[in-house]
């Protein structure tokens, strides 16, 4: 099997999120990911990249290095940056028992990543920055139904 791997380096600019999603969508299609799997991969990379830009770089200039590749039965996405340390895996779960109209609307991005992906790992980047690695099995079902 020929490996499917793409890499994209973009400035930390919210206007570049569409390119990041597009790259991951291309890789997912090349891996024959089914619709739910494809949607999950695109959602996860968007939320994670948005967090890096908004909570990591906070308006200061910088870059994101995004890779997406098939590894065995998984699609693995990594996002590396040089922003101050920010570990999204430490963000607490939102309390979904609170009715939505009473809830603070922010803070859902990490929640959506956890529901979309099978594995989310954070590591500091050697020399400064962060590396987020996220993997999702090429399973056609949403995680809730597995």
């Amino acid at each position: 099997m020929i490996g499917t791997r793409r890499r994209l380096r973009v400035p930390a600019d919210l206007d570049r999120l569409a390119e990041v999603r597009s790259m991951v969508r291309d890789v997912a299609e090349a891996c024959d990911a089914q619709p739910v799997c494809l949607d999950d991969l695109v959602q996860a990379v968007d939320e994670a990249a948005t967090n890096v830009i908004v909570h990591g770089y906070r308006g200061t200039p910088g870059h994101l290095d995004v890779t997406a590749e098939q590894v065995g039965e998984d699609v693995v996405i990594t996002i590396a940056d040089e922003a101050p340390p920010f570990d999204p895996t430490g963000v607490p779960e939102p309390d979904l028992s609170i009715p939505p109209e009473h809830r603070t609307p922010g803070g859902m991005g990490v929640h959506l990543i956890r529901l979309a992906m099978d594995e989310v790992r954070y590591a500091p980047r050697p020399g400064g920055g962060n590396i987020l690695t996220m993997a999702r099995r090429l399973d056609p079902r949403p995680k809730e139904e597995r």
Partner: protein, 134 residues
């Protein structure tokens, strides 16, 4: 891909505005969507159907936009995502009627369900059904 919005005012016993979204709703453009609805409210819109048929992606920032839109259409200032509980008003009914959704694609519907925001909206299968229900 950018987000394009199309606005249509439908007269009837209850006038309603249909706001159709085409493209991708993300952190780069959700504030423009909130501004669009604020302008509609200022111009007299009191019932809003958001047609999601051509919306192929919605980020969590899109949820913030929907939440803000509900508050605007309820005649309240939109919540500040950073302000926490004090920004939230307790008087909205669980499923409000000012804003209704139509035709979400499966991925968008999944985001609404996974965050519980679907409970805030009546979701219609298509635009015609939404208009018929007004």
């Amino acid at each position: 891909m950018a987000l394009e919005t199309t606005i249509e005012h439908v007269d009837g016993t209850t006038p309603v505005t249909v706001l159709a979204l085409d493209g991708e709703l993300d952190a780069s453009n959700f504030e423009e969507l909130i501004d669009t609805v604020r302008q509609l409210y200022d111009d007299g819109t009191r019932r809003l159907i958001i047609d999601l048929a051509a919306l192929r992606f919605m980020a969590s920032s899109g949820l913030v936009a929907l939440h803000s839109i509900v508050r605007i259409m309820h005649g309240e200032p939109p919540p500040d995502p950073e302000a926490g509980w004090s920004a939230l008003h307790p008087d909205l009914s669980t499923t409000q009627s000012e804003v209704q959704l139509a035709a979400p694609q499966p991925g968008v519907a999944r985001v609404l369900a996974r965050t519980g925001l679907d409970r805030l909206f009546t979701v219609h299968p298509d635009r015609a059904a939404a208009l018929a229900a007004v």
